[in-house]
């Protein structure tokens, strides 16, 4: 008994390590998606700004950063006479701006001694800033004296970045039409999954139980369609969709995938191993074909259907090539197409790319986690009963 406990402990440790290893890439993806800037390996926590080290009344600095990603402004300042007040202005590329006045922080203005000043970015009224622009980028930071006749000195001007931000997600959702892509992907994946659950059972049942002409040849055709690389079909499918007027419609994305060969194959194998006695009994009792399928075959097939369901859902959610070729407008795009577009339009900006990737990946992960109990439970009970 002891020994088996020990073995089980080893197994638990091994599996935990494996799972952690497996999840590392996805953890990296998520972690990067909520970071403000930077490449994946290099974290940056503050941005130092270079400026001339002299007495100033107006200081303009090129900044060119998204202010949503910053937490605060910090610098050391002193006045030449004392009592000076100043104003910090952030300007966007189209001339919009937002500002903060120093009265709020320094009642008596600057002193002749160095003073550390820290201003949270949230104090800037950013509602009007960069309105209508995809990102809240401050091109120029201006610091100017507003009150007092002297000049001011500034040292160590820096901006601290936030530790985490949702700005990348907001950018992704507002750029292009990600909400719509999301809806399209969900709709298409849901319909294809329901279609496959429904039709694959019926077709699988026919192949498992019925005897009909050309049965062997047709089943071989199903298997054959698994082995031909779908890339060979790009042109013919496009030409066909165009000629029946289905380009850029949901039909083109849903109908061809409604009954997939793998689902039929799986259901046929599964149903043919179910005992036929129940159906025979039902038939003797006068049950119709429809009732046999929906009352007997369907409930008995849940474990295999669980596999068909996740299979088709994942496939439909993640498919890229055909939705890209067959759709023409932003309204019809699916998430992977949107992601690929985002990828090229943004260049290799990892934080945004990972946010877009997370948005694409998370729903399927969540669906799986939510239903995994049922999926696994269905698998075990269904198969054991058999």
């Amino acid at each position: 008994m002891r020994r088996s406990h020990f073995v089980n402990l080893l197994v638990v440790i091994l599996l935990t390590a494996l799972v952690m290893l497996t999840l590392t890439p996805l953890f990296l993806m998520f972690h990067t998606s909520i970071r403000p800037v930077g490449t994946l390996t290099k974290g940056i926590s503050r941005v130092q700004l270079a400026h001339k080290d002299e007495a100033i009344t107006v200081l303009k600095i090129r900044f060119h950063q998204d202010i949503r990603k910053f937490a605060s402004f910090t610098f050391l300042a002193k006045g030449s006479l004392g009592g000076e007040q100043f104003r910090i202005t952030l300007s966007d590329i189209r001339g919009g701006s937002c500002r903060v006045d120093s009265e709020k922080y320094l009642k008596a203005g600057l002193t002749k001694e160095w003073q550390e000043i820290s201003i949270p970015i949230s104090d800037f009224n950013t509602a009007e800033f960069a309105r209508g622009l995809p990102e809240k980028i401050a091109e120029i930071i201006t610091i100017e004296i507003t009150n007092g006749s002297g000049a001011m000195y500034i040292e160590g001007l820096a901006l601290d970045l936030k530790k985490f931000t949702l700005a990348n997600y907001i950018d992704v959702f507002t750029s292009g039409n990600f909400r719509r892509y999301f809806f399209n992907s969900a709709l298409i994946a849901a319909l294809i999954t329901i279609g496959n659950i429904f039709f694959c059972t019926i077709v699988g049942y026919a192949f498992a139980r019925k005897d009909f002409a050309f049965k062997q040849s047709l089943f071989l055709l199903i298997l054959a369609s698994l082995i031909i690389p779908p890339q060979a079909f790009i042109v013919p499918i496009f030409v066909l969709m165009k000629s029946i007027g289905w380009l850029n419609t949901y039909w083109a994305l849903i109908i061809p995938s409604l009954v997939q060969p793998f689902g039929i194959f799986l259901m046929k194998q599964y149903i043919s191993r179910l005992p036929a006695s129940l159906e025979d009994q039902a038939r003797v009792d006068g049950a119709k074909e429809r009732q046999i399928i929906f009352r007997i075959i369907f409930p008995l097939s849940t474990p295999a259907l669980a596999i068909v369901a996740i299979n088709t859902f994942m496939g439909a959610w993640n498919t890229f090539l055909f939705p890209f070729i067959l759709t023409n407008t932003a309204e019809m795009r699916t998430l992977p197409v949107g992601l690929a577009l985002f990828n090229t339009l943004q260049g290799a900006d990892w934080v945004h790319l990972m946010a877009a990737s997370s948005i694409t990946a998370m729903p399927v992960i969540l669906v799986f986690l939510a239903f995994q109990k049922h999926i696994i439970a269905g698998l075990t009970t269904g198969l054991v009963k058999r």
Binding site: L23, S225, V235, Q372, I376, L383
Partner: protein
Amino acid sequence: MRHIKRLFFIFPLLYTLNFTPYTASYADEPVTLTLWEFSANEQLMRELLDKFEALNPGVKINLQQLTWEYGLDKFIISLAAGNAPDICELGTTWMAKIASAGTLLDITDDTRDIKGNYFLWETATYDNRIYGVPWLSGTRALFYNKALFRENGLDAGYGPATWQALLTAAKKIHAPRKGIWGFSIAAGEAESPWQQFLPFVWASGGSVLSEDRKTCALDSPETLRALEFYKELSTYSLIERQAQINELFAEGKVGMQISGSWNLRLIPRLNPQLDFGVALLPECENTSSAYNAFAGGELFVITKKSKYPKEAMALIRFLTSKENVMALVRVQQNVVPAQKDVLQDPYYEQFPEQKVFLAQLKTAMGPPNHPQWTQIQEYITGLVEETIMTGARPKAALEEASRKIEALLQKETKKTIVSNKFITALSIAAMLLVLFLIFLTRKKKPHAAAVSAKPFILISPWLLTFLAFGLYPLLYSIIISFSKFDILKSQFEFVGMKNYLSLLADPDFHRALWHTLVFSAGTVPFTVGLALFCAVLINRKIPFKQLYQAGLFVPVTTSVVVIATVFTYIYSANGLANWVLDYLGIIRPQSSWLTSSLSWLDISIPLLSIMAMNIWASFGYYTILFLAGLQTVPESLYEVAALDGATEWQKFRFITFPQLKPVILLAVVLNTIYSLQVFPEIFTMTMGGPLGSTTTAVYYLYELGFHRFEMGKASSVAYILSVIILLFSLLQMRLLKTEERLEE
């Protein structure tokens, strides 16, 4: 039987839809223009288009955004199907190919008055006619890290002005032990390698094609000089894909790089702290060449089939006007106009680095406008990679490349033109023939079961979709595979077995097959083995079972596009994989794992890296499959075995494995099929490179079909591969079954 007959009618019916007449547009109906582009921010572009619509009542514009990677493919497919947009953005290097097919509208007369205002007209010209209006320009300039320049005693105020100065600077900065590279050279991808190298050729006075563009002029002393210089420079360089170079440059690890204006925007996003400068490209000593930079760009073209060429031209004029281009430039900051008179715009006073790109345009030239350019550039990329990544002698590599290009130029291009409808009709005829043959074979069996209508109703959902979206494309592509089919020109000619025979003799195809087989042989055993191992472990009486199941399955749910993106990082030069190797003190590759040229028996590090990723991404699926299978093994078998004192291994060997055999067979066959068809991973990560070392069969298919426009040959690749997959599946079924019999 009647039901089958009914089916016969449906397809001709579908086909007739093809001929439904176009509803003619009425005069009072609004004009709708379709515009495809991929360089502008969608939101900003829409704002501009709204402005145009307001100025021109009655004109509506549909905007569609494409991507650089797939833009050309999609445009070509649409042209072939007669579904192309009115206006499309085209990269300058694609122009000749598409203009030569006669699908673009000649706008020579419409552009006379604006000719003086733009750069890049020569890229819009084919056969002395103009087919496009320059919109954005895409020059490259030299980015340099000022901090690294200062540290190494170089003047950070200027970039190197000559080749020699460039080499000296690279030498000084290069410190591989510290992970610092002097210069950087793009390799292992399709576009950047040739775009960076050709300016060196031009600068030294060489050229790719002769004046008349009829012969290859690459094999010259000037080009050799450029290539030898490039090779010397490469010893002080990071050899990587452009995206990775950008990133490492932003991290301050690369002294200099040649890149486009988009970097001005990207670098501050990646690293706000980096102090960098932008300079004109260095000039070659002792030459009279006026050019030393690459001029690419984006043009707007009108397709011949557009119903509203006048409105389309008006829209193009509107979009390429100085004001509207600057509206994009100001906000996006990663594009450069193609207009000559924008230099005075106040924007450029504010951003002097952007100005460098406009200045560089004056000594920039584009690649020759040749219909075969898209393939010529592949050979030049190959030449660059061959020279700097392997020990190849520049002279020999150059001779080899120019031989290939010469052969390409001399290829005759006379074909018969047949419309798509012809192939469609042919496919439908073939479909009827197949159905008829099935019908005949049935008649020969006297004892076949009585035909009943019911099963056909039951299988009709599959039968209908299969006939339309499975069998029809299948026959269509089979017919194409016996022909020479240029989808761009809709040129079609039966060639019999020629495609298949030429593939069987094609060394590139042999390599692709070899890579595919290696991929399969290297992934299937590990994927299935690991899955089996995990399933058996999870099946024990342990806590947190669900957690493990879920944890291992999560990668399976993730889209390949996402996985590829994440793993590109993990494999990058300073990514997780190299970090782990460093930590363990193991020698690691200097470059990214995906651009390494290390290989053994043509099994390269990039191929192995993608295989590892594939195992990671798929084994969770089979784990769940095996777990389900394990539930069917009766517990009593294990109890009996335990009483007999069987070890864990014996239990696995004599109970679990034989009981699980059908599921294992399914897993092996499925995984083999998927791995032999591997494509998206290759496509998103390496595009078949570097040096073609990750080109698999399906990627080769894609390249033939959409880059070389040899659709027929591409289809034959599909069918040769299918036969191989079939053989493998049968073999596996046979092997696993005979073993079973032996045990009994």
